[in-house]
């Protein structure tokens, strides 16, 4: 017995040796490289990217990394900053995201991190980055409480607390809404936090909440909830769902004869809704930081370039990543070095940055401040909601 026990210890000893030899190579302290400007005067820095690249949410990660790469290419061409992107896959799992972050911060010695994709991952990675003094910026993390993790945590993705009130306000204005029904996914962190915002806004605006219904991931049949909602005769349905479930909900609702408009959260905002639900998607109202149809040269240039590069329309994830990259590059340029603290300070001071999403600033906590655009689906297309 005691021998097999020794065996275990020796396994660990070997592992420890392995890791020692593996990391002794690339592990220099970050201070040495600071101010190490490239020959042509550009500030160079290493930036880590944690993204969901394999598994169920690989689509998000792909859009994000595409947006980042496109932006970085342009930035390099401009020649003021020279950023090396080092991308790690988190597979949408907290453990893997944390390991990736450790690798980027300690083995790769990056100056800043962009990502991870999910809010759940950020809740695990954020505190660790903050502790290590590495600025980290989420470009797709919308849940409440993310920038509040610490001084080094930022995001340029528009939080539900900004998006949802905007769309609800406009909907109330246009349809003279008095009574609403709420439907949300209660086992998902995004849809649940979206619901919390919806409920608060509805109460603040003095709307009567007729009924609150929930659904769970993987559910296919929403008829029971929708029948109940239909019978309460709301003016508007507040639906906090990811587009997958949301599109099906709209489809089933329209079939049932529910013709009132829907207000959705960030997760509902996707061209996929139209693809899945078809005509039934008409009447969906969402607030978005990103509108591809915006009459703006910058936006149209981006759309054209993205299409050329990747052969598809950019979605909000690509757009937010694109602007995120620029925000960071800006900060690095201002900081004038790849020093983590300098970059953090420069990032925090960002004010009135003009991106494809609009004019952006960070508030004291590191959350994005911007004006969302409210869109609605009409005749199978996203259009400005006025």
């Amino acid at each position: 017995m005691r021998k097999s026990y020794k065996g275990l210890l020796s396994i660990f000893a070997i592992m420890a040796l392995l890791l020692a030899s593996a990391c002794s190579g690339g592990n220099e302290t970050s201070g040495d490289q600071s101010g190490d400007a490239a020959k042509d005067g550009a500030v160079s820095a290493k930036v880590g990217v944690i993204s969901w690249l394999t598994g169920a949410g690989a689509g998000y990660g792909e859009a994000i990394t595409n947006g980042l790469k496109l932006a970085n290419k342009e930035i390099k061409e401009q020649g003021k900053v020279d950023i090396e992107l080092i991308t790690e896959d988190s597979a949408g799992k907290q453990e893997q995201a944390l390991s990736s972050a450790q690798k980027l911060m300690n083995s790769e010695n990056v100056s800043a991190i962009i990502g991870p994709t999910l809010s759940t991952e950020m809740k695990v990675v954020g505190p660790e980055a903050d502790l290590n003094g590495v600025p980290i910026m989420g470009t797709s993390t919308t849940a409440a409480g993310i920038p509040q993790i610490g001084d080094y945590v930022f995001r340029d993705s528009i939080p539900e607390s900004l998006a949802i009130p905007a769309s609800i306000e406009k909907a109330i204005e246009k349809y003279d809404v008095k009574k609403v029904a709420i439907l949300y996914g209660n086992d998902d962190v995004f849809t649940k936090s979206g619901y919390d915002t919806m409920k608060k806004v509805a109460e603040d605006k003095g709307l009567e909440i007729l009924t609150t219904e929930t659904f769970q991931k993987g559910q296919a049949d929403y008829n029971a909830q929708l029948t109940k909602i239909k019978n309460t005769q709301p003016d508007l349905i507040l639906c906090s769902a990811l587009y997958n479930e949301g599109a099906v909900i709209m489809d089933q609702a329209r079939k049932m004869g529910i013709d009132v408009p829907f207000v959705g959260g960030n997760g509902f905002n996707s061209p996929e809704v139209i693809k899945i639900a078809g005509d039934a998607a008409d009447g969906l109202i969402v607030a978005t930081p990103w509108f591809a149809g915006k009459d703006d040269q910058k936006v149209q240039d981006f759309v054209a370039k993205y299409k050329e590069e990747y052969g598809k329309e950019p979605d909000q994830f690509a757009a937010q990543a694109y602007d995120g990259m620029y925000l960071l590059a800006n900060a690095i340029e201002k900081a004038g070095s790849d020093d983590r603290d300098a970059i953090r300070d420069a990032l925090a001071e960002t004010e009135g940055f003009e991106g494809i999403l609009g004019e952006m600033s960070f508030d004291e906590e590191g959350d994005i401040v911007m004006e969302p655009t409210v869109l609605t689906i009409k005749e199978g297309k996203f259009q400005l909601f006025e």
């Binding site: 169920a56 296919a220 099906v248």
Partner: protein, 294 residues
């Protein structure tokens, strides 16, 4: 409203019942819980998407293809995951369970790769047809689903009790060894069982696609676990039990929404499992296992 909700519940229940019939058939003959049944069902649904939406071909063809593909999956399941375990010495009775869990994980992730993680629409003009009776709208799909469920149940009962092949199958269910001694080709019978059960999963998949317009790789897990709950509720291996259990679960899931606790909707199935197993382990329609089997 209650009437509409009853129809909702019956529709959902009928689909559950068809899924559960597949489980019950396999359990009845082989004594195995096929954890991959939900994923086979999911593949059936995706075949419907591919045929009706991607290729824009008629719905009838979707049924044929779904049945064919899921039957083939059933065949592979039997040949690769179940047969190698049969009659092998030292294999625990848990082995088929674990093996089919493996198949289910594999299929789920295979679907991710083939079809993507997202929801796929299932557009067919058939799902638009409806009848208005008073304030209640009934869709043709709902009627079809109910009819197919009843038909499958009656057909299966009849086939098991009256036809020669069915009797052979039941002989297998009683005792594999004895059946093979009596000249029943047990290998063929087992294969047939798994294939038929899988094809029923395929049918259920198409029906779900038609009824709810919602097809994702994860649906297999959700539906599979529900099916599992149903056969335990109704009694393992009981055809009537699968039908009754399906309807009970469908109706109670709908009713819990009606009475306001939609958050616990998914838990009903599992609470039912636990309660039934503790109070009446043989299920509502099952027979108590003879003591001698201990």
């Amino acid at each position: 409203m209650i009437l509409e909700q009853l129809i909702n519940g019956l529709t959902l229940g009928s689909i559950y019942a068809i899924v559960a019939l597949g489980y019950t058939l396999v359990f009845g003959v082989l004594g195995i819980i096929n954890m991959a049944h939900g994923e086979i069902f999911m593949f059936g649904a995706f075949m419907g998407v591919v045929i009706t939406h991607t290729l824009q071909l008629p719905l009838a063809l979707a049924f044929v293809v779904a049945i064919a593909v899921t039957a083939l999956l059933g065949l592979f399941l039997e040949l690769l995951a179940l047969r190698p375990l049969r009659g092998k010495k030292g294999v625990s009775h848990l082995a088929p369970l674990i093996s089919t869990i493996g198949v289910s994980i594999f299929l789920e992730n295979l679907a991710h790769h083939f079809f993507g993680a997202g929801n796929r629409p299932f557009n067919t003009s058939f799902s638009e047809i409806s009848v208005q009776i008073g304030s209640v709208t009934i869709y043709a799909v709902q009627l079809v689903i109910f009819a197919i469920a009843v038909l499958l149940m009656v057909g299966l009962s009849f086939w098991l009790s009256k036809t020669k092949a069915g009797k052979a199958l039941r002989a297998c269910a009683e005792n594999l060894e004895a059946a093979s001694l009596l000249g029943v080709n047990t290998k063929k019978m087992i294969m047939m069982t798994v294939v038929i059960a899988s094809a029923m999963g395929g049918i259920a998949g198409i029906l779900v696609g038609m009824a709810f317009n919602s097809v994702t790789p994860q649906m297999g897990l959700t539906m599979g676990l529900k099916g599992l709950a149903i056969i335990i509720l109704g009694g393992m291996g009981s055809v009537r039990g699968a039908m009754a259990g399906g309807l009970i679960l469908g109706l109670s899931e709908t009713m819990i929404v009606v009475f306001g606790e939609s958050g616990y909707r998914d838990a009903i199935a599992f609470i039912a499992i636990i309660v039934i197993l503790l109070v009446r382990p043989q299920g509502l329609f099952g027979q108590a296992a003879p003591e001698a089997r201990r």
